[in-house]
């Protein structure tokens, strides 16, 4: 029962052009799923997380429709067949 990442356009160059990536089996937390994601696609890691292991300031991650900031951050639990969305913050583009 995989978890599925939805990859935003600017990052698809690092996942062979796909818009989704499935992590087989069910990772128990978001952190596990992300670790698996960038083991598969190393180019994603530094674009999503800082070198200190924090999700970048202007990137939001949703599990289903919930922003993980409100569900436990990287330790947010994943249910079977979770849909994980990596979403650039709309405030991210400087004027």
């Amino acid at each position: 029962m995989p978890a599925t990442f939805h990859i935003p356009g600017p990052l698809r160059q690092f996942v062979a052009g796909r818009d989704t990536v499935e992590i087989a089996d069910t990772p128990s937390t978001l952190a596990d799923a992300l670790s698996a994601l960038w083991l598969l696609y190393p180019g994603l890691r530094d674009r999503i997380a800082t070198e200190q292991g924090h999700v970048r300031e202007h990137i939001n991650i949703f599990i289903g429709e919930e922003d993980v900031r409100y569900t436990g951050g990287l330790l947010s639990p994943l249910a079977p067949n979770s849909e994980i969305w990596i979403v650039p913050n709309i405030s991210g583009g400087a004027t």
Partner: protein, 716 residues
């Protein structure tokens, strides 16, 4: 004591000593088993009665805790005035000894962490806080079983404490007379003198897990005071990037400064660790990420066709990079770009050493900051999988921006430097394959006291002394000027005479908001400096600075550029104030000195003199190396101006660009062409900064025809 009998235990050997007592190995002669006996050490305790009470408390507390991961208490007794506890003999190594130096693999950290959390969970359920959990108090047996020892400081919380929900609340524990425990493991609330509760143990568990993972403590200092300050204020330095992110997140959650932001129960930590342990991620798609593109081609971008002898301008803006080319006449320019749509390009450089014609650019976006290059004038750019410049895990900070890219000496073509935010210097010695943090500067004791300026805490200028390959200068906003005379190993603040208007002490050793410094390669003892209020010159390798704002409309500004051939000729663009930060009186005027700052003249021909409220940022001005020299600058309103007669007259090259952050110029020669020596021959130089003498007009030869293809120093 050896050979004595306490109760029915014969003491056979001393095996350890703690704050409260001495621990002996003993033989239980009734049950025929080896045990440990802890005897109150009278000389160690403040007074026997209090020590005795504590020992009994320890015994009572621990005996209530039957748990496989807690050392079992068998008996408490008194013999001839000696209080003692008979307990399970645990043979193994302390977690501290196991994790010393390199730390343990994540699997071991998980396995031991789960057991420690389980032990704490049982204790907390019984109303008992450990209060001195540390790696030295945790023993791992040869079978991998964890035993938590020494509840010597444990206190039973009020078991009768009522709670509306029927479960135990976090009853606080006040010990008004002393703080007990081991400093590096103490929670911030204990150090603040606030009541400790179960969650202080959870903090200590976070420290233990971190220590087990890293082989070092998360908060350290040379003195107790420094350690206390680190616990109260600092965030623990990140673990190695290969360490599982989930486990790192659990440790960080344990180490939240405020108890209410931590886990609230040990059982929660146990559950989180167990979940991580059971998470076996199986990849059904074995695609290796390494086949992702290593270079990127920008589509819908106009590229320039560069020919031998062309002059180039590299322009970084808040929304991408542009390249301009012209033939040597510099009258008509062709525009290429934008490269990296929407990314801030805060630093660019041209590297023509060793036959290269490489353009470097730093790009910044919500996806992070990357250093890239192109070897074909923008047709393809590198697209690194991993950020080439990154702070090491133990630095505790993350890269925000790269503000400067500076080439190393001409005879070391694989050396480059980058100045970054948060303020730090990075260096490569293999042409950019690998970069390393210059520790001599990062570990400087001043660094914690540097403050961010309006543009962030940035190291934005790097200058190399071309007469002395060991000497470098950097400028930091707000930190000031620092100089190294040993290739970057050690650094000294060099700010004597530079005013810091915003500080209580107007002339501090460091902390000045220096906006830019510049040097002519032929006169390395002389530097010019545009400060946050103040225009300065040094004639002694930055030992001392003298105000040279003689006749400028404002001594506030950003950019400062030295003429490529004339060391006494310098260009600035004054702006009105730190509040307004626009050209004075709506007039766009470049100011030039030809006598090293004794006087300044406005250069206005071709520049708007009405309604021109412009800002020229610190790296948005440069000079080429032609004779007569070309001077170029860009504005925050996206206009690019050029003068090909050293500033006498100006023309607008481009308008409508995004805000211009940086400009560099370069000449493209065929790879391998011998550099033409237009740079004046260096005069005789003082041997050392200390012996430098002030001089304003030492001889330099006039340059002839056109200069070499050498790249522009980014300090310009």
């Amino acid at each position: 004591m050896i050979g004595q009998i306490l109760g029915h235990c014969r003491i056979t050997a001393k095996i350890g000593e703690g704050g409260m007592g001495v621990v002996y190995r003993a033989q239980d002669e009734m049950l025929h088993r080896d045990v440990a006996v802890k005897v109150l050490n009278k000389s160690a305790g403040p007074e026997p009665s209090s020590g005795g009470r504590n020992l009994l408390e320890e015994a009572r507390a621990s005996s209530a805790l039957a748990h496989p991961n807690i050392c079992t208490i068998y008996e408490v007794g008194e013999s001839e005035g000696e209080l003692y506890i008979v307990m399970e003999l645990v043979e193994g190594k302390s977690l501290r000894a196991l994790s010393r130096d390199a730390g343990l693999p994540p699997e071991s950290v998980l396995r031991y962490g789960i057991q420690i959390a389980s032990a704490l969970s049982r204790a907390h359920d019984k109303g008992i806080v450990h209060r001195d959990l540390k790696a030295a108090n945790i023993v791992v047996t040869a079978e991998g079983l964890v035993k938590v020892l020494d509840f010597g400081l444990a206190k039973r919380l009020d078991p009768e404490a009522p709670n509306e929900a029927g479960t135990r609340s976090f009853v606080t524990m006040r010990d008004s007379t002393s703080v007990s425990g081991t400093l590096p493991y103490m929670a911030p609330e204990i150090l603040r003198g606030e009541p400790a509760d179960y969650r202080s143990d959870l903090w200590a568990l976070g420290v233990v897990l971190y220590e087990a993972a890293a082989g070092r403590l998360p908060f350290e200092g040379r003195t107790g005071f420094e350690t206390t300050a680190a616990i109260l204020r600092e965030t623990p330095k990140a673990l190695d990037p290969s360490f599982p992110l989930g486990l790192w997140a659990i440790i960080q959650h344990c180490l939240a400064k405020e108890p209410r932001q931590r886990y609230q129960r040990a059982s929660e930590i146990q559950a989180a660790l167990e979940a991580l342990q059971s998470a076996v991620v199986v990849f059904k798609d074995p695609v290796a990420g390494n086949n992702a593109p290593r270079t990127t081609v920008m589509h819908s971008v106009r590229n320039i066709q560069v020919r031998k002898g062309d002059s180039l301008l590299l322009v970084g803006t808040t929304k991408g990079a542009f390249l301009l080319r012209s033939n040597p006449h510099r009258t008509r320019w062709e525009l290429g770009g934008p490269y990296f749509h929407g990314h801030g390009v805060n630093a660019m450089a041209f590297d023509g050493r060793a036959g290269r014609h490489r353009i470097w650019a730093s790009t910044q976006s919500i996806w992070g900051t990357l250093l890239r290059f192109t070897d074909d004038f923008g047709k393809t750019w590198t697209n690194p999988q991993e950020a080439p410049i990154r702070f090491p895990a133990d630095a505790g900070v993350s890269l925000k921006n790269i503000w400067q890219i500076t080439l190393g000496p001409p005879d070391e073509p694989d050396v480059l430097y980058c100045g970054v935010e948060p303020a730090a210097l990075f260096e490569t010695r293999d042409g950019g394959e690998t970069w390393s943090l210059v520790r001599g500067l990062f570990d400087h004791p001043h660094r914690p006291r540097w403050m961010p300026g309006n543009g962030g805490l940035a190291l934005h200028t790097i200058l190399l002394d071309q007469s002395n390959s060991r000497r470098l200068y950097v400028a930091i906003s707000s930190g000031g000027v620092y100089r190294s005379d040993d290739g970057g190993c050690s650094w000294t603040a060099q700010n004597r005479g530079i005013r810091a208007v915003f500080m209580p002490n107007k002339y501090p050793e460091f902390g000045q908001c220096v906006h830019k410094i510049a040097m002519h390669p032929a006169r390395p003892e002389r530097l010019f400096l545009q400060n946050h209020w103040g225009l300065y010159r040094s004639d002694d390798f930055a030992e001392t600075w003298t105000d040279v704002a003689n006749g400028v409309p404002s001594d506030f500004g950003f950019a400062v550029v030295v003429h490529p051939q004339k060391p006494d000729c310098v260009y600035i663009v004054p702006v009105e104030s730190d509040e307004f930060r626009c050209t004075c009186d709506g007039r766009l005027r470049v100011y030039r000195t030809r006598n090293a700052g004794a006087s300044w003249e406005p250069l206005t021909r071709g520049l708007p003199q009405k309604g021109a409220y412009e800002t020229i940022l610190r790296d948005a001005m440069t000079a080429d190396s032609f004779d007569p020299a070309g001077i170029y600058f860009g504005t925050r309103s996206g206009q690019l101006y050029a003068s090909r007669d050293e500033g006498k007259s100006w023309q607008r090259l481009v308008e409508g660009l995004p805000p211009v952050v940086c400009i560099r110029s370069a000449d493209f020669e065929e790879p391998g062409a011998s550099p033409r020596s237009l740079t004046p021959k260096p005069p005789q130089l003082p041997k050392s900064p200390k012996s430098a003498s002030s001089s304003s007009s030492r001889g330099h030869s006039r340059s002839k025809s056109r200069p070499s293809h050498k790249s522009r120093r980014s300090g310009k």
